[in-house]
Symmetry: C2
Subunit: 140 residues, 2 copies
């Protein structure tokens, strides 16, 4: 394989980057009214699932490294959407939970979360949608 054969457009990495750009753009448009980014929404949704969760564990659940997670937590916390309390059993940990405004915002936003997924998948048939999810899950 020589340099002439390298077609950027056919590399999975480039396609993944472009697909994520489109996904983010769709999310941003749909969530403009909430002022939430994809990662912030993911964090809120996972905190809701867990009830109460430490910062590092939330990072693992949402695929964010600790340094990234800190920024996301700080911004959600400053907006009053989540609240933290020191863990009594492990003094390294802070446990985070949704505040009432956070829970209300999340409840209002879920429907748009589904809408974002639907819009991203719109170019695909139902069968193709299932396939792409299955193959991406394999790649991850």
């Amino acid at each position: 394989m020589s340099a002439d054969d390298y077609r950027l457009e056919e590399q999975i990495g480039f396609l993944l980057r472009r697909a994520q750009q489109r996904a983010t753009a769709i999310f941003t448009t749909r969530f403009a009214g909430y002022g939430l980014t994809p990662t912030q929404f993911a964090a809120l949704a996972k905190i809701a699932d867990e009830g109460e969760v430490s910062q590092n564990r939330l990072g693992r659940l949402t695929a964010m490294d600790p340094a990234t997670m800190k920024g996301v937590i700080d911004r959600l916390s400053e907006r009053g959407l989540i609240a933290g309390r020191a863990d009594q059993k492990d003094r390294r940990r802070t446990q985070w939970r949704l505040t009432d405004p956070g829970a209300a915002l999340l409840a209002a936003a879920y429907g748009d979360g589904f809408a974002v997924t639907a819009e991203i998948m719109d170019p695909l048939s139902p069968r193709e949608r299932a396939t792409v999810l299955r193959l991406l899950a394999k790649i991850v």
Copy 2:
């Protein structure tokens, strides 16, 4: 669809983000010796294809917005891998091309570009690889 039905792990956006994280990690490991990021490599490859190309056009070819492109161009230029010259016909434009060291580095790195793609696709069968490329191209 209620909030209980929202499973982050099954949303295409979340899967795309995770897949790209893995792709980037594989790239970073394989390209550590070159000191090139995925976007820098993409830019070099496209400049090589084009011979000479303006900054905004390169951004369109590599799916980077002008602000992002500027940072990539600046870093490649500072390393002496590319060189720019003012366009005589359009004085807003700068035309960029590979320097000899840039061309040499790119030539040495192409093989690893293919290797990165292969490693990302490793969990998939040949048929699945073709399918995922086709479906991602539809989504983009």
